[in-house]
Amino acid sequence: MNQRIFIAAALILVFCGSALPQTGVKKKRPLPYEYGRVIIDNYSHKANLAPVVFEHWIHRSMFTCRVCHVDVGFGMKAGATGITAADNARGYYCGTCHNGTRVVDGKIVFQACSRKANMEEEKRCVRCHSYGQKATSDFDFFKFSEPLPKERFGNGLDWEKSEELGLIKPANFLEGVSTSKGNAFVVQKDFTLDPKVEGMPDIIFSHKKHTVWNGCELCHPDIFMGVKRGTVKFSMVDISLGKSCGACHTTVAFPLTDCQRCHSKPVQP
């Protein structure tokens, strides 16, 4: 009798054990104002500060990706840059703009990490070190997004069209930091990629669209290193893991759920 109970218990354990890894954890879809948010906690906790909450939507409305990820030098993966308070105080990374003197959109950008540490300074820390804190922002996503053309996923906005309509004007040059204005890229023509799945529309890839905001060196060779077309095989699994297109299209740019924005070539009957 005892032996039967033991075998039954063992079988239940084995079944449960094999079922668990398959269940996984369902990722919560971020809300429009959360999409692109990066929590930076390289050293914050060690310094008894809350982690930094970085909102991509605020910054991408003012600057192209290239300005921050090439000229200022922010990495493409959260935590990879290893920003320190000293870097910011010396005028690098966040401190490139957040230095209390640079003017963006007619406003002086508040200083990031400073060398002093009095009560008044500490209040300012919470403007960035706001994770889990009651902090008020100068920027309201809903007010900002109201006049902009809408899309279904990500931030729920069509950023490209917003720029076309002149509703946002992301700067592509930062005085004293950028090496060029980056507005005359010489690139390949648009080309199609075969998705290898029957019925799935071809992907139309536009170098022109991508270089406007990214430049060349943001993608090549770090993200896309194959020089001969067709030598690197892309898969949706890899992309969803953040490789190739997924470096931006799972984090900040419109997400993978918006299939037809890439698979956009009409299927021939």
């Binding site: 030098g73 000293a86 870097d87 105080a89 010396r90 690098y92 990374y93 060349c216 060196e217 001969k228």
Partner: protein
């Protein structure tokens, strides 16, 4: 007499300690103020060359193999100068130089492959 000598010894220790603290503070402030050193003309030579070399990335596709090779060599020549910079500057410019050089090498590779 004994107490006077002991008092003097304590005073000397205190003065030495304060001096050490002062020296460390000055050094620390100096390190933080290195952004001001960016304006130093001697340090600007590398920056001028960096700007000149890396401002051409947008036209990388138009360069010949010889021009690309020359740009890569100029990037390589900048590396030892950037390695000497302070921690923050080094971190930023090493990354920027890597991206810039990487692109020229990538385009050169593509052009060589296209010729084959």
């Amino acid at each position: 007499m004994f107490f006077a000598t002991k008092f003097m010894a304590k005073m000397i220790t205190a003065v030495l300690f304060l001096g050490l603290v002062g020296l460390c503070s000055v050094r620390a402030m100096g390190a933080l103020q290195s952004s001001a050193a960016q304006a130093n003309p001697a340090q600007q030579t590398w920056r001028k060359e960096f700007n000149e070399v890396c401002s051409k990335t947008q036209a990388a596709m138009t360069f010949s193999q010889e021009e690309l090779t020359d740009l890569i060599l100029r990037c390589d020549a900048l590396l030892p100068q950037i390695e000497k910079l302070d921690e923050s500057q080094k971190k930023v410019y090493m990354g920027r130089l890597r991206m810039c050089r990487g692109l020229y090498a990538y385009v050169l590779d593509a052009k060589r492959n296209a010729k084959k």
